[in-house]
């Protein structure tokens, strides 16, 4: 039996196509994934992300515990700041990518992928055992709704008041909405501006309705996981299970910037220090010739030699052509040509830099 988010009845009433995703019953599209994708690029889209894990770390040593558990330097983050980071194992392999929000001096919120939430929570408990910090998995206690797109700010501010407009990218604040205190973060996974709103689970449907009402004139539409995937792919953002895995280090996936030497070290720190000196893989973008999309797992070849593998691929609604992210074992030549084995047919692809799409505003 799949887990259901607090918005489950809303999705059913909208006639969403539901699928099992990481053990959750989630909307994959409502009507057309392509239309939903364009709505986020041109107007605004509303996402139910309540399946993502909300893990709270509190106490005097909360920051120090996260410094040890993750790649991030959490203890030096100002209150109200958000940062993208990763949790690695002792070998430097990626357990998950996540966002850390500093809500207060002694309170952090870690948002992890749905598929990895239980693992990340168990690891956080284990890794913080020698610190004065408490861990709480509040995934079921929260509804997480995201509004993303060029119209997102206008729509969300209608509910929260204008002060939230001052909130900058990768910041988080407490806001009053629907008579309760919520967390509003200016973060997302689409390549567009937007907000992620964390409210008590029971208020999820009311917040959804209020946002839809506030955004109806601006073309706000519900968006499912299929469009979320093509949006993040165009924005060059990695997905755990595709680009990221236990077999990859941050260096293999273009995330060397996340690895910083820390005084107290961190789990996997020694392995990563060694990996920094070793050859590693590279993530690149591919423009695929022809009409057939490349899929995760397809081989990439150059002059007959296997040089890598496609990690994600789809038709790009914004670009109007097939795109893919691939992991290559050598420094890629941007503008060069490689071949992708699309189920037995060698198909030419041009190597391009990530991301495929940057918002123009």
């Amino acid at each position: 039996m799949s887990r259901q988010t607090p918005l489950h009845q809303v999705h059913e009433a909208l006639g969403a196509r539901m699928i099992d995703f990481a053990g959750w019953d989630m909307p994959v599209w409502y009507n057309s994934a392509t239309d939903e994708h364009h709505a986020v690029r041109c107007g605004a889209g509303l996402f139910d992300l309540s399946h993502m894990a909300e893990l709270f770390v509190t106490g005097p040593d909360a920051g120090a515990a996260l410094d040890w558990a993750l790649l991030i330097e959490a203890s030096t983050m100002p209150v109200g700041r958000a940062r993208y980071s990763m949790m690695c194992n002792e070998m430097g392999g990626i357990i998950d990518d996540l966002i850390v929000y500093r809500l207060d001096e002694h309170e952090f919120l870690v948002v992890a992928n749905a598929s990895n939430g239980p693992t990340v929570f168990a690891e956080l408990v284990e890794r913080s055992s020698r610190f004065d910090a408490q861990l709480e998995d509040q995934t079921d206690g929260f509804a997480l709704l995201a509004v993303q797109g060029p119209k997102a700010e206008e729509i969300v501010l209608r509910l929260t008041g204008p002060e939230l407009g001052e909130l900058r990218y990768y910041r988080v604040a407490h806001v009053e909405v629907l008579g309760t205190t919520a967390y509003a973060a200016r973060t997302g996974y689409t390549g567009e501006d937007g907000f992620e709103l964390f409210v008590p689970a029971e208020l999820g449907p009311a917040l959804w309705d209020a946002l839809m009402a506030a955004g109806s004139d601006d073309g706000l539409v519900p968006v499912g996981l299929a469009a979320r995937d093509t949006l993040r792919l165009e924005a060059g953002m990695p997905l755990y299970g595709n680009e990221l895995s236990l077999e990859t280090t941050p260096f293999d996936v273009g995330s060397a910037r996340l690895v910083k030497p820390k005084d107290g070290g961190c789990v996997g720190g020694d392995a990563l220090a060694a990996a920094a000196e070793e050859p590693h893989d590279f993530l690149v973008g591919l423009h695929i010739d022809g009409r057939r999309p490349a899929r995760s797992g397809y081989e990439v070849r150059s002059d007959g030699r296997v040089v890598g593998v496609v990690t994600s691929g789809a038709p790009s609604p914004t670009l109007g052509q097939n795109i893919a992210i691939a992991r290559l074992d050598h420094t890629p030549t941007i503008g060069g040509t490689v071949e992708v084995d699309i189920r037995g047919t060698e198909t030419s692809a041009t190597v391009v830099e990530l991301p495929f799409y940057r918002r123009p505003h």
């Binding site: 196509r17 994959v28 599209w29 057309s32 994934a33 392509t34 299929a226 093509t230 009409r291 057939r292 999309p293 899929r295 789809a314 038709p315 189920r343």
Partner: protein, 124 residues
Amino acid sequence: MSEIPEQLSYTAEHEWMAHGDVTTVGITAFAVEELGEIVFVELPAVGDTVTAGTPCGEIESTKAVSEIYAPMNGEILEVNDALESSPETLGEDPYGEGWLFKMKTDEGEYALLDAAGYQALIES
């Protein structure tokens, strides 16, 4: 509720057939809805000999690749080339403009369904 025309016969792999001098084959509205937006269709070649229940082409949506199975034994007489340049037609009109191929069928025992049988299959 997906449209299931009475006069057609069906396979468990969600193909429909219109029998006449030749047999026209397509995929059902139910299958099209399951697939989502279709981006690529690969059809058999005219003159190919196909075997019931074995793959003879593929349909690719934004999310996944699915095989097209030959519904009966026989020879491919004509294919819907228009789907190559506009695969979305398949989603818009699966029982009309979105037909896949026409074939000459051999005599034999085939596990085909009528509309009621197909309806029962997709509801099960």
